[in-house]
Symmetry: C2
Subunit: 227 residues, 2 copies
């Protein structure tokens, strides 16, 4: 039997503004309602960034706390995943919401290029974020922007920096990083199975228009989807 | 017929000091003699970093000029490749020696983690280094610390930022970056052949004790070796 497909909804992301898409939820109450709709439509994980009033990315723990409280109330049983990505803050500010004990948090374990800059995840910050996740019992979702990030997650699991088997998300289609490529996608799957076991769950996310392609590939290959 | 194996000698590297290995050539005249010995032993490319008198990495164009002059005199026909790697300088200082018209220069096209820090190759710096290499007719050797770097080289070649078919070096065994892994190595080869053609030359470098493993794999798989 195939395990049911987990649908993870990324309600806001770190970058799109209302100017790009009037439907993007910005305030915490908008995010809660948007999550509620996705939950009723079948999503079981919410991947959340929070925003300032001017729509810029925020890492304010108070906003994460309000979001968590609202999602718990409106969407009982939904898995809450906070982003610790580098667009929302710098250094340890990226993990300032982990003491809120979300179920999961994203964790980047390597560095790579983004469209206009370096996505910096220095080794000491990665280790600190991973340690905070252990302290607060937060399951990391590994954001694999490149192949070596999967190996790094395996190493961190082997030496105890990550408790449970890592849940890896393949991120494809970011300019100046890994493009959307089917052979790489298949090699990613082969690699997570080799490193973490045949039945390990994994998921994939494409950027922008590529999201549909990646969801299609993921669902048809036994992975989970990000919408 | 198999093309002859190209041996590239990295005479100094950016980090080892005499305290690690008394045989490391530090001064330009020591580097020239060391290159001469490797040339007589069959090496056809020299990959060069230069050093300050205190053995710290340097990006001083005057040192590169003296090294180039000496190698041209002692090793006629040897291909001279300068490092533009980030250990020797910051920003555009990394490409300050390109006006010397070396035959080749290393080019990192993405970012990744190193043992204790981020190896930063921001997109605008990568493009500037590639443009300087076009201006001064320097062939880049792409340092692939991760899989996406091979795709980025292909994209830069396709859109004209790199003139000729990229010569890719797989770098494996750097802590916090890609480990030495045979399946990845084979996938790297498959990928360069897919992106650049079946007969594209490529090479591989392992770090420290892994160098022997990588040379063995490379030579037995039709690649070139770094010693
Ligand atoms: Zn996110
Ligand atoms: Zn509601
Ligand atoms: Zn080098
Ligand atoms: Zn000589």
């Amino acid at each position: 039997m195939t395990p049911p497909c987990i649908i993870c909804v990324a309600i806001t992301g770190s970058l799109p503004t209302r100017a790009n898409n009037p439907a993007v939820p910005i305030t915490v109450s908008e995010q809660i309602e948007s999550t509620h709709e996705a939950f009723e439509a079948g999503a079981s994980i919410v991947h959340a960034h929070v925003r300032n009033e001017d729509e810029t990315p925020s890492s304010d723990p108070a906003k994460f706390a309000a979001l968590k409280e609202g999602v718990e109330k409106h969407c009982p049983g939904m898995i809450i995943q906070f982003s610790t990505g580098g667009r929302s803050g710098a250094g340890k500010a990226r993990g300032g919401m982990l003491p809120l004990h979300p179920d999961m948090a994203s964790l980047s374990v390597g560095s790579n290029n983004f469209p206009t800059r370096v996505y910096e995840n220095p080794p000491d910050l990665v280790d600190w974020l991973a340690a905070e996740m252990q302290t607060y019992e937060v399951k990391p979702e590994i954001e694999a922007f490149d192949l070596s990030h999967i190996f790094q997650a395996a190493k961190m699991h082997a030496d105890g920096r990550i408790n449970e088997t890592p849940y890896v998300q393949f991120v494809m289609g970011v300019k100046n990083s890994m493009p959307v490529d089917r052979e790489v996608f298949d090699f990613y799957i082969k690699t997570v199975k080799r490193l973490f076991g045949q039945n390990v769950p994994w998921c994939a996310a494409g950027i922008g228009a590529e999201q549909i392609t990646l969801n299609d590939w993921a669902v048809s290959s036994g992975g989970h989807a990000r919408t």
